[in-house]
């Protein structure tokens, strides 16, 4: 099998071209800022504030994502046939929604003149252009992906395991808590990290629903967008920072994955 088939060459060249296209901009970004410059930029207050808002909002969004998403995903993986199909389509709907449209939709739901706006105003709650809006925007965009991927994780849990647990005396809740969850724990951890990473990079939904208020709703992506119009060097630094955070999260998630497959 040493002979190089023309088709193999075709495959390799397609892959290489695409790889170049994908990796070149990343290299360019890494080369644009020197480490000293990066450090210098990153000690600026507004950058630190944006970093803080990004971390805080993503972590705050992670909580409901896990609390609501895990049981929902487990329930989804227990559905079969047509019901499952319909639920999955429902879940895909927010996924195919462009993020900007998602932001608009959120505004129409929770905004002052939105569907729930009047009701919320009566309780003195105002959501748009607050940190809560950032969290809701992240939850809206991230949770469908999270639920879907976790449902397929739970699909991988042998039903027999849970039936065995039931026969050993476990209630449905106990079989979820003591069998299904521990069996997929590494995968779940990786999914949670992916959800965080996805939240970090969110832009469109936040800028429409939460605005771009430095120190309140301005995440790293929004800060980058603002900086690009005034101080491109700072934008490059912010871009590099986001890239490094993503790389860190990605490698953590990847490190967890293969163990899952082994056990």
């Amino acid at each position: 099998m040493n002979r190089l088939h023309p088709f193999t060459i075709l495959l390799a060249s397609c892959g290489l071209t695409l790889g170049m296209l994908l990796l070149l901009p990343i290299f360019a970004l890494l080369l644009a800022v020197s480490p000293a410059e990066l450090l210098n930029q990153l000690t600026k207050t507004e950058v630190l504030l944006a970093l803080w808002i990004t971390l805080l909002s993503s972590l705050l969004a992670l909580l409901p994502t896990l609390l609501l998403g895990l049981p929902a995903a487990y329930g989804l993986s227990r559905c079969r046939g047509r019901l499952r199909h319909s639920l999955e389509i429902l879940l895909e709907l927010p996924m195919v929604l462009p993020p900007v449209v998602a932001g608009l939709a959120l505004l129409l739901a929770f905004g002052r003149r939105g569907l729930l706006g009047g009701l919320l105003a009566e309780f003195g709650v105002r959501i748009p252009f607050t940190l809560a809006a950032v969290v809701i925007a992240i939850l809206f965009v991230v949770s469908p992906y999270f639920v879907r991927r976790c449902a397929s994780l739970f699909d991988g849990v042998d039903r027999k395991l849970e039936e065995a647990a039931r026969l050993l005396g476990a209630t449905p809740w106990q079989s979820f808590r003591r069998v299904a969850l521990p069996v997929v724990r590494r995968g779940l951890f990786a999914e949670a990290i992916m959800a965080l990473a996805q939240g970090f990079g969110l832009f469109g939904a936040i800028i429409l629903f939460a605005g771009n208020l430095p120190g309140r709703t301005q995440t790293l992506s929004l800060a980058l967008y603002s900086a690009f119009q005034s101080d491109p060097r700072q934008a490059f630094a912010l871009g590099t920072l986001l890239l490094l955070i993503s790389l860190l999260l990605l490698s953590t998630a990847r490190l967890l994955r293969p163990w899952e497959a082994r056990s």
């Binding site: 027999k160 039936e163 065995a164 647990a165 039931r166 026969l167 050993l168 476990a170 069998v179």
Partner: protein, 391 residues
């Protein structure tokens, strides 16, 4: 009364499960071809599927009763089940697996450890305690799975083909171990199998299931003597011909579906649909039909010849199909007939057993054993020996 009594209906794909079964304390083997509904029955008993209607009673406790609207969830039935693929928890080690049920019941660490250790000791698997279940052999996994089930003190044990997944070398050992452990337990145990060796080995009560119904219950011996159906006969290795008993020239004869006529002890048989069974080792083979023989005979072509140790199994296909078993010396004396050659199969009328069968379709009445053979005991031992040798 601590046994299991069940009577239930369930729609199972292409056919209905319609069962009436009682399992007294001790081992009962549930035998049946693949797809007979054996695993479905276990799932119904365990509460993992729901019967359309019926009742399940375990001792004094009602587990399921459509009339009284009782349907206990699996965790309250106190039924131990050994799945075919065992379903050990991969996220726990051996001790963790065995202690799982105890932990759910709120047993403290010390108490749990004590019971787990006792079980490990009793089942002779103490060295496995701290091992990961991924590194166990097939037999060890089997033992751990049983220990896990026993830890919670089940009142009924369901074992789904416990030795099917093992390699043949390990099977014998696990079977002996299982027999010893289960015999000591004295709780009702339903062991599913489709393996004649296993049924013969356990020498316990057997319930035969076919297409969702229990067609026969009894000992292996009884199955051998009076197989209730063609499957049971094939399973224990006995020839089974269906046909009818008629009167010909004022004496009863058996006319097989293939059109051959045979004689048998007819004293307790009525005219009408019947089946004839004859043991393969009671059939003699000849190249030429012996002169003046009053015995039953059938000419046929050798279909296949299988060597089983020092015995040879020949399938003869004529008007009917008969299997004959002879010693390899007898086979040599016959000139080692090959497939395609024509031979005569001959057996004495009194070696044949005959009984009436219900018309096809109505499986309501229990089959009765009508003829007795004095040599039955001896035959049984021969078969069991040959079965073991054959393995």
């Amino acid at each position: 009364m601590t046994g299991l009594e069940c009577c239930l209906n369930y729609r199972n794909g292409s056919f209905d499960l319609d069962l009436d079964l009682s399992v007294p304390p001790g081992i009962t083997i549930l035998l049946g071809p693949n797809g007979a509904g054996k695993s479905s029955l276990l799932r119904l008993l365990a509460g993992l599927s729901r019967p359309a209607n019926g009742q399940i009673r375990l001792g004094e406790r009602r587990l399921f009763d459509t009339e009284r609207c009782i349907d206990l969830p699996p965790e309250q039935r106190r039924i131990g089940m050994l799945f075919q693929d065992l379903a050990l928890f991969t996220h726990l080690n051996v001790s963790g697996n065995i202690g799982f049920g105890l932990k759910l019941r709120g047993a403290g660490r010390a108490e749990r450890q004590k019971i787990v250790n006792q079980l490990l000791e009793k089942l002779t698997i103490a060295p496995l305690a701290g091992r990961s279940v991924a590194e166990l052999s097939g037999g060890e996994r089997q033992k751990v799975a049983l220990a896990r089930t026993l830890a919670t003190g089940p009142r009924l044990l369901l074992l789904d083909e416990p030795t099917a997944a093992l390699d043949p070398a390990a099977r014998g050992g696990i079977r002996r171990w299982l027999l010893q452990v289960l015999t000591e337990l004295k709780i009702p145990t339903l062991l599913v199998s489709h393996d004649v060796e296993e049924a013969a080995f356990f020498r316990k009560r057997i319930a035969v299931m076919e297409r969702g119904r229990i067609v026969q219950q009894g000992s292996f011996h009884q199955l051998l003597q009076a197989p209730a159906s063609e499957y049971v006969a094939r399973f224990v290795g006995v020839n089974y011909l269906s046909g009818e008993v008629l009167h010909e020239a004022d004496r009863p004869v058996f006319r097989s579906r293939g059109g051959s006529t045979f004689l048998a002890p007819f004293d307790m048989v009525a005219t009408g649909p019947a089946c004839l069974t004859v043991n393969p080792w009671d059939i003699a083979l000849y190249r030429q039909l012996p002169e003046g023989s009053p015995r039953n005979h059938l000419q046929g072509e050798v279909h296949e010849a299988v060597l089983l140790g020092d015995r040879v199994r020949l399938t003869l296909a004529g008007r009917d199909k008969l299997v004959a078993e002879l010693s390899s010396r007898g086979y040599q004396a016959l000139g080692e007939p090959q497939p395609g050659e024509r031979l005569w199969a001959v057996f004495k009328a009194r070696e044949a057993r005959i009984k009436n069968i219900a018309a096809v379709g109505s499986a309501g009445n229990r089959p009765r054993f009508l003829s007795s053979s004095l040599t039955a005991g001896k035959q049984l031992t021969t078969l069991e020996t040959s079965i073991r040798e054959g393995s």
